[in-house]
């Protein structure tokens, strides 16, 4: 019964979404206040209905109601509670419902948190937001219905269980975070389309768009980081990023979103780069849609691919064509009517942000071309199959990233409108000094590829030191009494602190990537009990094996004694699990974290000699995820900035009008 109610709520939500699209947009066109005022209530109603549908599906999973096809195919009574819930989005139908739930949540958030938005803009934003819901709800109801029932006389007693490699805490929360990121860009998109319809973009518009973009980008950062962390320790391949189409699909909107964050600053502070910012908002969400399409259609073969259905791919492709095509047509027609604002010299804060945007979009384009090239090639040659692998991405992405990373500390030092590059660099003397010293130190002690490593490490140090130096200048550290500095730090606007944290995080990511890829140690061999493998200065001794019984699996567990210079440190285990519901095996990696890096032990099959074991030492690899956390934390801190808060924007707008040069 509850399942039918959920299904019914979903159909109602579709009807409400149609209403939410047509009425406010028509009202805004006619200037009819009453019609425009319908938008917020519709957005809230739509969310309540979609949430009810989602709740009904969760309920079916909790009850292990195997008369629902989706629950039968993906759940099992023996599954732990957490995975019963996350099982909801472990499959295609459920994850699309999650997608739409988050979409309508954002719609409601816009309706609730934007009391001070001009009525027509608000109506249009919510109308566009509603139209996206229309597309995806129609998709769910017609071809991807999670509430489909199995005929009553054939209801099975037990479910098939779900893909065991998804039975993992990191992957439980990866899709919601990632989707919040993807879907969050829909708000920026709706604002962009609404602005094109209004024919007006100003500083206030940018101030409204930025927090939504920031929130989306922050969640996307967390989602990607969690996904790569999962790939690192669950898949047992010893890597964390493979330039796989599915991974690229999440990286492209991230890059476009980061570019959008930066260009929206220029619109907000200097009232220029408007046309470009609108375009970026459209691109960021288009890339999110393309990402959804790539992951869900299976047109590209991916190491992360799950079973897919090409028929559904066509439907998503139609949605994609409508929104991307439609928005570009509107853009082409209306972008010219937007008035451009303040002028700036090439060397200025604006100029630096333009360069940032060019590099970020170019790298997003490089990833895009590399990802879709196999498709194009196949279409052109009539079936020729190729792959574009990691070397392409490392080369193009690397070359485009280096200047971008070099410029990170410089940008914030430049003043708006017209800047003195020399003076800006002078303020970074300390950071440059530290970077050069660290380069020399690394070159002196390093083995492997000393020159590349030294430059890479120096780049990371330069970004971190630059971010800290900018903060030091801001709070007048050592130039004023310490108490003054601390007070200034406390009073620092959230946006400034957020920027420092995010840039710092980027530096940590660079350090983690360079260190772990340059000095990674890898040993693959097979061992008998008592034999020792050496990696990263540690001795890993294979002790013994035993069988373990889990809630829904049996495992062969191998134990290893890790020691250093003969001194025992810890015992680490790695397992091969065989899941009862599906008979599908997974590998559990044994991981030990040290300050110097991670020791990673994964077992394979048995061979003639003994147990195949893979031991890696990944120096400082944790810096990468720590850096991602810093970036996300910076995003949250920035979101807490009082200028973004409800009600404050109205006052701030009054102030901004009084001092346009801010």
């Amino acid at each position: 019964m509850i399942v039918e109610l959920g299904h019914f709520a979903l159909v109602l939500a579709f009807a409400v979404a149609v209403y939410q699209t047509i009425v406010p947009l028509y009202g805004a066109m006619r200037g009819d206040q009453q019609l425009m005022n319908e938008a917020p209530a519709a957005a809230i109603a739509q969310f309540v209905l979609v949430a009810a549908a989602f709740g009904a599906l969760v309920w079916a999973y909790l009850q292990s109601d195997f008369s629902v096809l989706n629950v039968w195919a993906n759940s099992h009574t023996a599954k732990p509670l957490l995975y019963k819930i996350t099982g909801v989005w472990s499959n295609h139908e459920g994850s699309m419902l999650l997608w739409v739930s988050i979409l309508s949540l954002f719609g409601m958030a816009v309706a609730v948190f934007s009391g001070n938005l001009p009525l027509s803009l608000k109506a249009r934003v919510l109308g566009v937001q509603g139209s996206i819901s229309v597309g995806f709800l129609l998709y769910i109801i017609t071809v991807s219905n999670p509430f489909e029932r199995i005929p009553l006389d054939q209801v099975p007693m037990q479910g098939r269980g779900f893909n065991p490699i998804l039975q993992d805490p990191a992957l439980a929360f990866h899709p919601p975070l990632l989707y919040t990121g993807y879907v969050g860009f829909s708000v920026a998109f709706s604002f962009a389309i609404a602005a094109l319809m209004e024919g007006k973009v100003d500083a206030a518009w940018a101030r409204w768009v930025r927090p939504w973009t920031l929130a989306a980008w922050t969640f996307l950062t967390l989602g990607i980081a969690l996904g790569s962390w999962w790939a690192y320790y669950e898949l047992g391949w010893g890597g964390w990023w493979f330039w796989d189409p599915v991974e690229n699909a999440s990286l492209m909107p991230w890059l476009a979103g980061a570019a959008l964050l930066h260009s929206a600053i220029v619109v907000e502070k200097r009232n220029t780069l408007k046309i470009w910012t609108i375009l970026l908002a459209i691109i960021a969400f288009s890339l999110s849609l393309i990402g959804t399409f790539l992951v869900r259609s299976g047109v590209l073969s991916s190491v992360h691919a799950f079973a897919v259905d090409p028929g559904r791919g066509v439907f998503i492709l139609m949605i994609l064509l409508f929104f991307i095509g439609g928005s570009f047509v509107l853009y082409a027609a209306r972008a010219g009517t937007l008035k451009t604002g303040g002028l700036f010299a090439p060397i200025s804060r604006e100029g630096a942000l333009v360069v940032n945007n060019l590099l970020m979009s170019a790298s997003a384009a490089a990833v895009f071309i590399g990802t879709l090239f196999p498709l194009a090639y196949e279409a052109i040659t009539g079936g020729g199959k190729i792959t574009v692998g990691a070397p392409y991405f490392n080369f193009t992405f690397g070359i485009l990233m280096i200047p971008l990373l070099l410029l990170i500390p410089v940008g914030p030092m430049l003043s708006w409108k017209r800047a003195d590059l020399f003076a800006a660099l002078q303020r970074l003397t300390a950071a440059a000094g530290i970077a050069i010293v660290s380069a020399i130190a690394v070159a002196a002690i390093a083995y492997g590829h000393p020159v590349m490593a030294a430059l890479g490490i120096a780049l990371g140090v330069w970004i971190i030191a630059g971010a800290l130096e900018e903060l030091a200048i801001r709070i007048k550290l050592f130039r004023a009494p310490l108490s003054t500095s601390l007070r200034r730090l406390w009073k620092l606007p959230g946006q400034a602190l957020g920027m420092t944290l995010a840039h710092l995080g980027m530096g940590l990511v660079v350090l983690g990537i360079i260190a772990s890829s340059t000095w990674k140690e890898e040993v693959i061999t097979s061992v008998r009990p008592g034999e020792v493998i050496r990696a990263g200065g540690y001795e890993v001794k294979y002790l013994d094996e035993r069988r373990e019984q889990g809630p829904d699996y049996i495992a062969e567990q191998a134990r290893f004694q890790v020691s250093r210079d003969g001194r025992p440190i810890a015992v680490v285990t790695s397992e091969k699990r065989s899941f009862i519901p599906r008979g599908m095996p997974t590998t559990e990696v044994g991981l030990l974290h040290f300050l110097k890096g991670d020791l990673y032990v994964a077992i394979g099959d048995r061979d003639k000699k003994g147990r195949v074991v893979r031991v890696y030492f990944h120096p400082f690899i944790y810096l990468m995820w720590l850096g991602a956390l810093f970036m996300a934390f910076g995003g949250f801190v920035s979101l807490l900035d009082r200028r973004f808060r409800v009600g404050v924007a109205a006052r701030a707008r009054g102030n901004a009008a009084a001092q346009p040069a801010e």
């Binding site: 893909n163 490699i165 898949l235 047992g236 391949w237 299976g298 047109v299 590209l300 073969s301 190491v303 992360h304 691919a305 799950f306 079973a307 451009t340 002028l343 700036f344 010299a345 090439p346 333009v354 060019l358 170019a362 384009a365 490089a366 071309i369 590399g370 090239f373 079936g383 020729g384 199959k385 190729i386 792959t387 574009v388 692998g389 070397p391 392409y392 080369f395 193009t396 070359i399 485009l400 693959i524 061999t525 097979s526 091969k576 599906r582 008979g583 599908m584 095996p585 997974t586 590998t587 994964a602 077992i603 394979g604 099959d605 048995r606 061979d607 003639k608 000699k609 195949v612 893979r614």
Partner: protein
Amino acid sequence: MTRKQQRTTLIISGLVFLGIAAGLILYALRDTIVFFYTPSEVAEKHVQPGTRMRLGGLVENGSYRKGEDGVVHFAITDTDKVLKVTFKGVLPDLFKEGQGVVAEGTLLPDGTFRADTVLAKHDEKYMPREVADALKKKGYWDPNQPDGQDKGEAK
């Protein structure tokens, strides 16, 4: 600087930049593309030893053999031609005889294939698209009977 000059500067720098990026991409694409072949195509197209490529097909039944120190041997077939593969490493969890597989590596002068990567899938219902297409061409694979699902259950 006037408005017009500013716009021109922006457009020109943007175009120059775009040109550099495009050049970079084309250059990188030319050198890093890896072709996908089935064992029959390797024979037909006389692929030169030493070429880096992806080889796809089914793991031939009865071909999987464990060596020492993590080396494994198996054969990839498209039901027509067979190619022997050696791989040092840990095979993906879902590697099974009779299942679809994609291996990346180089063809050796003795006609065998040395793989450095064997692609894993996260889902036992999933068949790499290239493999599915190649097998469909041979009339072997029926898309309505997803390979592996039943075998996986029967294990």
